[in-house]
Amino acid sequence: MSNSVTPGVPVNPGPGGATGPDRAGQDGRRPTIEIVNASLGRRYRAERRFRFIGMSAVVIGLAFVAILFADIIGKGHSAFQQTYIRLTVDFSAEVIDPEGTRDPAVLRDANYLKLARDALAARFPEVTRRADKQALYGLLSAGAPQQLRERVLADPGIIGTTQEIWLLADDDADMFMKGRSTPIAIQRGVGLASLVPVEGGEDNQVQVLSTANDFSTILRDLADYREEGRAPAPNPGSAPESGPSPQSVPTLESDLAGQEVLGPDLPSHLVAINGGLVKVERATPSAVIGTLLKPLTSNVDAPAEQWEILRFATPENDRRLKDRVVAWLHDLGAAGDIEKRFNTGFFTQGASREPELAGIAGAIMGSFYTLALTLLLSFPVGVGAALYLEEFAPRNWFTDLIEVNINNLAAVPSIIFGLLGLAVFINFFGIPRSTPLVGALVLTFMTLPTIIIASRSALQSVPPSIREAALGVGASPLQTQFHHVLPLAIPGMLTGAILGMARALGETAPLLMIGMVAFIVDTPSGFLSPATVLPVQVYLWADSPEVGFVERTSAAILVLLAFLAVMNLAAVLLRRKFERRW
């Protein structure tokens, strides 16, 4: 019995007081259970802490993924829709086929641009100025004439008739329809609005008076806008020094004292009244003076709720669409002649400089050809190499060296493979650049180590008892491998191959080196036609200045991600389906 009793603590000599601590004192140490219990709390705390840290890591990771996806989807989802404008097109025989030959060559070369423009001009007869007309024609995509040509070529019978046709809108119009140009706020008129011609003003200037202080919102809005520091302080009574629509103000009436002058650096306000649109240039709480962007149908007073004030939050100078064009689009929209439809062209068309004409079909086909060839080249070679190294090769310093190098190869930056491809395949072997063939060769080099490593581990995971069983009944080593080991290892190998392919699908850097970054309009038709691939297309679009390409970039990324997800899912399903238990 140990005498190590804590000093100062009276020792209970007899066995009478056999309480917990006493019991502990009797053999000089605390019972195990007490020691365990004492440390138990600490252990559980440590466990909880660890769990919390782990959960946080997962949550943070998931949050980043969620943010990424939200951003991409938020930006990209609108690319799956495309704006179309309905126009009444007169397929005038004089323009298309003045001689009436219906010769396809003639039909193909006809001036469809003129047809489209004429239709647009007919829709907006009030547009007469040359500059305005150019802007109006800009509403239609460069692809619109092509649409008309296809229509005519498909059915020459429509020549000489008048058809209502949905034509592709320009990317600016498209952006406007998707709300990327400017937010539009609409405020119903409260008072009775009367229209008064502006004395001494230009023909198309008009003054709108309201019985209520409807326009004070405009003043307030401008004041807010200035307060935010996004425009210079007001300079009452003086017109802005510069601007596309300088207004002379000598004839201002006295009741317009305290007016605000709206320039192109400020949010635009328009008054829609009596079928016309007035762009506000000067404003007081109860009256505005502005230019008619769209003629009025009548000059009668408009009662409350029958007129409205439109507010374009982005100043005219900050957007590509001028107020005039916005007015036309608004008009089209009001008439139901403009709408967004599913963007099939995005999936069927090749690359283009025009965002509304640009599609990913070329890139998808390029990726398909490249990856198919990559799989064809790398899978058999990779599996063969893995089989040989794992099952047949003697173990010596040489095979060890090969193994180390394969593992190293998997870690080589992919651009090095691009350089290799450039130096060896293009410069030495003379394989045409920019083709899926050379791309596949480079990607094969890149995915081979992955496939070999995955295949080897798949082979290793086949239990040796199966090999023994096969050898034991007298199968030759090759039969053992092909009858028993390989079937069991194939799911793992396929999984590795698919993951390698997924990596190859997302690879850009090596392909840049071998010219797959070229701008290629045509959808590739084979392994030897110039092509680009999805990630490179993303890279190219991300570089383009047009706003329309922003959403297309995101949409292409979405498509790429979808492919990757499908491939990974396929890998998982394959493994599930063919995984054997033994």
Partner: protein
């Protein structure tokens, strides 16, 4: 006088000096390692794994219609020796086998000898039941198929049935031949493996601890099966269970650290082993 003594000896079976042979100093094997009906004859077999001398100068015969059990502590080389008999050691890197092993007079380590027919002649059953992850039928049919033992489907079907019957498994699986072999119980799997082995009509069957993963009832069935198979095949079995060796074998060989210490009739080994090491092992005095 001398004649009378001889008579007495004959009549009473008096012992001779041989009967009570003193323990030989350890060098070489105690007991008779030959078999009058020898099918496999092993002489002076040495096995090296790299630097390790795994089997030291072992000579042992495996006779017709007999079960030879090999016992000994772990790492004594009994499995290694078993694997020499159908050259499964060939697959082990760094393994060298010296000595002479013949099957029906043919040196199996001869340069001319192909291992594939050898393994068809000397089948093997492993410690863990290892049916192929295929159907029961395919498991049994695989060997005959790769060796081309049958001419058509009918013959193959018959062979599969015979093999399964011999393995005592037919009644249990005849209705589900197309189901995976891995779905059977452990004992059934092991009998399937035996059926797979006998489907290629071997002459010798090697069993490497065939019951170590099985419960006693399954073990008993395998033991019964081994006893039946003895009618047709020569069987060498490695086992950790001394009772099993005592139950199934006719001759027993005790291995110790790569040496074949003692060989003898199973009844003699288990009642009156000659060598101290054998006795210590058998009576549980080891280590």
């Amino acid at each position: 006088m001398n004649a009378i003594a001889e008579d007495i000896t004959r009549m009473t079976g008096a012992m001779t000096a041989d009967d009570l042979a003193p323990l030989r100093d350890f060098s070489g094997t105690v007991g008779d390692f030959t078999s009058p009906k020898a099918r496999m004859i092993c002489r002076n077999v040495d096995v090296h794994y790299g630097d390790k001398h795994a089997i030291k100068n072992v000579s042992l015969d495996i006779g017709r219609n007999e079960v030879v059990a090999m016992i000994g502590p772990s790492g004594c080389g009994k499995s290694t020796f078993l694997r020499c008999l159908n050259r499964m050691n060939d697959t082990v890197p760094g393994c060298r086998v010296r000595g002479r092993i013949t099957l029906d007079g043919q040196d199996i380590y001869d340069k001319q000898q192909d291992v594939v027919p050898l393994r068809a002649q000397v089948g093997m059953v492993f410690q863990k039941p290892n049916p192929f992850p295929k159907s029961i039928y395919e498991n049994v049919a695989y060997g005959p198929r790769i060796h081309g033992l049958t001419n058509d489907k009918v013959e193959l079907d018959a062979l599969v049935e015979t093999s399964l019957r011999k393995a005592g498994l037919w009644d249990e699986v005849k209705d589900r031949l197309q189901q995976p072999g891995t779905g059977l119980s452990g004992g059934q799997q092991q009998r399937l493996c035996i059926a797979r082995t006998i489907a290629v009509s071997p002459e010798v069957i090697l069993m490497d601890e065939p019951c170590s993963a099985l419960d006693p009832i399954a073990t008993a069935r395998i033991e019964e099966l081994i006893d039946e198979l003895r009618e047709q095949y020569s069987i060498a079995i490695v086992t950790h269970s001394m009772q099993q060796a005592a139950r199934v074998s006719q001759r027993t060989a005790y291995f110790h650290l790569g040496d074949l210490v003692e060989v003898g009739e199973t009844s003699q080994i288990f009642t009156n082993p000659s060598h101290k090491l054998t006795e210590d092992y058998i009576t549980g005095r080891f280590g």
